[in-house]
């Protein structure tokens, strides 16, 4: 019956193309939004992932960088550095602000990093200096391009005029970008001389970050200590929670569209072959076998639509960043698994309606009337 299902599908190539195309577009919608979200999420934790710290120390109760404020006394740095297994401890300042130039502005995650520190510095410089000097700032090149500025130009950040010393890459997203200033410039601008936001910790070679984190937590009071993975995970979770509703709405719309397309296609394909299915029932084919035909048709249609949708999304993920570097598309394995699973469920649900048609189909009806 698998052969019949495939043959039924490919017999009307136009209908198959419309069906697969419709499903592909609907699933592309889901995959596309998922990829944008995942891409933005990846950029959101770019600093955490690339700062070089194995352990992050923040104010007690503060588990994320965004939507919270961490303030630690500067003395904490020495306390942390004294803990066994800590190789380096670097204090940084952090705030969410705006970078402005030429009448344009962009949300920025501004980091104040001590000069010469081996942790927390920019990691991918595409132009200019690799660390900000006094009165200087390093911003993402996509943001610079959007604002029409380059190395040597002035921008406003932290309420001061700063000169662009260098440009980074891979540090911006649709909603924000990472910027770097000197620690003392940041402190001066904010008047936070004795306060730091976070302490970045590099553990000694051979030490386990979790173990060191636990030690710091046990020996230093008033702090929350997390490994890099834990900190990044909390950050992603925060953003997921904040975006869950809108993402769910988008996904539901995409799935429902896909369901409607595949259901309609399979229903029409089944009804148009009503007589043929009646013949099969007459010669002795059970309903369950006919259901298999319909379900296989649904699964194949959705499978092809999923592959086409994935291909389209991957293509978009290559093309779109070429036109707008702030939009990063990243298809995650979990997102793909989720879409594939829901798609399979959609195929089965879409097959229920024609299955009912088949169940009620009397083989007698295919015999001519009269006699």
């Amino acid at each position: 019956m698998f052969r019949l299902a495939v043959a039924n599908l490919i017999q009307n190539k136009t209908r198959l193309a419309i069906s697969v195309g419709g499903i592909a577009l609907a699933l592309t919608l889901v995959l596309f939004f998922g990829a944008i979200f995942h891409g933005a999420q990846g950029r959101l934790t770019a600093y955490i992932d690339n700062a070089g710290a194995d352990v992050w120390v923040s104010q007690q109760g503060v588990q994320t960088m965004h939507m919270s404020e961490s303030a630690l006394p500067a003395s904490v740095v020495d306390e942390v550095e004294a803990v066994t297994g800590v190789d380096q401890a670097v204090a940084i300042l952090y705030t969410e602000g705006m970078v402005q130039a030429n009448g344009k502005e962009n949300i920025a995650y501004v980091f104040g990093v001590p000069p010469g520190a081996t942790l927390g510095q920019p990691w991918h410089i595409v132009d200019g200096a690799s660390a900000p000097g006094p009165g200087q700032i390093i911003i993402d090149h996509a943001i610079a391009s959007r604002m029409g500025v380059s190395v040597g130009d002035q921008v406003t950040a932290l309420g001061r005029q700063l000169t662009i010393a260098g440009l980074t890459s891979g540090t911006s997203s649709l909603v924000s970008a990472v910027s770097f200033v000197r620690f003392d410039d940041f402190a001066q601008a904010r008047g936070q001389g004795q306060v730091v936001s976070f302490v970045l910790v590099k553990v000694s070679p051979g030490e386990d970050p979790s173990t060191v984190a636990a030690r710091i937590g046990g020996q230093v009071s008033g702090v929350t200590v997390q490994t890099r993975e834990e900190f990044a995970s909390q950050e992603r979770k925060l953003v997921s929670d904040m975006s869950a509703d809108i993402i769910n709405i988008m996904n539901t719309a995409g799935y429902l569209t896909g369901l409607a397309v595949v259901a309609l296609t399979i229903y029409i394909a089944t009804v148009s072959r009503r007589r043929e299915y009646g013949v099969l029932k007459a010669i002795g084919v059970r309903n369950s076998r006919l259901y298999q035909v319909v379900v296989v048709q649904g699964l194949i249609s959705v499978g092809m639509g999923l592959i086409a949708g994935l291909g389209l999304t991957l293509l978009l993920s290559i093309i779109i960043p070429r036109f707008n570097e702030l939009i990063i598309l990243s298809v995650s394995g979990s997102s793909l698994l989720q879409v594939a699973t829901v798609s399979a469920v959609i195929a089965i649900i879409a097959s229920l309606l024609p299955a009912r048609q088949l169940a009620s189909l009397e083989p007698v009806t295919i015999i001519r009337k009269g006699g």
């Binding site: 043959a7 002795g284 059970r286 015999i367 006699g371």
Partner: protein, 281 residues
């Protein structure tokens, strides 16, 4: 090959109830021996199709029994009937009813595969059967590219592929031209003779009488015995001699379906006698 033997006893089918009750088939008994071709004729609404459907296990009789070999059809539950149909009956339909998405070979092989035959064996059997039926050069063709006669031969192959004991044919020549109609009739006869199948045909086609071992006339749900049939020499329709209009010419009595045919005949009898009146008991 399974041994065939159809035994129908006191078969009745009623539809509706009370004032709206209609008895489509009344107390019919019939035996069909292996290798026998039985043609059931009769006017529209006489119960032919209802009888055929019951014989094929597609419709439950109200009363009576249908026995095929050791199998009592009406004692079987709905759950078992599909398998019984698949293994014991070959259906041939008026409109061929081939699966348009499958090629000729797969249209036949699918019936064998459904019965549990492996794909390779099923295809081999289908190819052999189709080649025997003169379609060896059409195995990969789509049904829509076949002539009516070829489609009907594919339907025959599908009906035969599971070696059924009984072939049930519903108006097998209705959509065929004269030439293909004759081919079909010859095939039905061959199936009975060479393969030992019992064949029950429901048809209006007078030509089938040439290959039938028995012709039964069904009217008002009952077989009319000893009915003398004749062919209207003008239109070729089967008519019951006792009830039909008649006219004598050149020492022979001719029977007609209506006044129009008799009038036409009367104007120029010689032009119609090339179709001599035939009488069937």
């Amino acid at each position: 090959m399974s041994e065939a033997g159809l035994h129908v006893s006191h078969l009745t089918k009623r539809f509706g109830a009370g004032d709206t009750e209609v008895t489509a088939v009344k107390d019919i008994s019939l035996d069909v021996a292996p290798g026998e071709v039985v043609l059931i004729m009769g006017p529209s609404g006489s119960g032919k199709t209802t009888l055929l459907l019951m014989l094929g296990g597609l419709l439950k009789p109200t009363e009576g029994t249908i026995q095929l070999n050791d199998l009592e059809l009406n004692a079987l539950s709905e759950r078992h009937l599909p398998d019984v149909r698949l293994r014991n009956f070959g259906f041939i339909f008026q409109d061929f009813n081939l699966l348009s998405a499958l090629n000729v070979q797969d249209n036949v092989a699918i019936a064998a595969e459904l019965m549990g035959m492996g794909r390779k064996v099923a295809v081999k059997k289908a190819r052999t059967l189709l080649t025997e039926l003169g379609l060896g050069h059409r195995l990969r063709f789509s049904p829509e590219k076949l002539s009516g006669g070829e489609k009907q031969r594919v339907a025959f192959a599908r009906a035969l592929v599971n070696d059924p004991a009984l072939i049930l044919a519903d108006e097998p020549t209705a959509n065929l031209d004269s030439s293909h109609g004759h081919d079909t009739m010859r095939l039905l006869r061959d199936i009975a003779n060479e393969r030992g199948r019992s064949v029950v045909i429901v048809s209006h086609d007078q030509r089938i009488k040439d290959i039938a071992d028995r012709v039964l006339w069904l009217e008002d749900g009952q077989f009319k015995t000893a009915v003398m049939m004749a062919t209207d020499p003008v239109c070729g329709m089967a008519v019951e001699q006792g009830k039909a209009l008649s006219a004598d010419w050149n020492g022979t009595t001719y029977h007609f379906c209506a006044r129009g045919c008799r009038g036409e005949f009367a104007e120029n009898p010689a032009s119609f006698v090339s179709h001599p009146a035939r009488v069937t008991g």
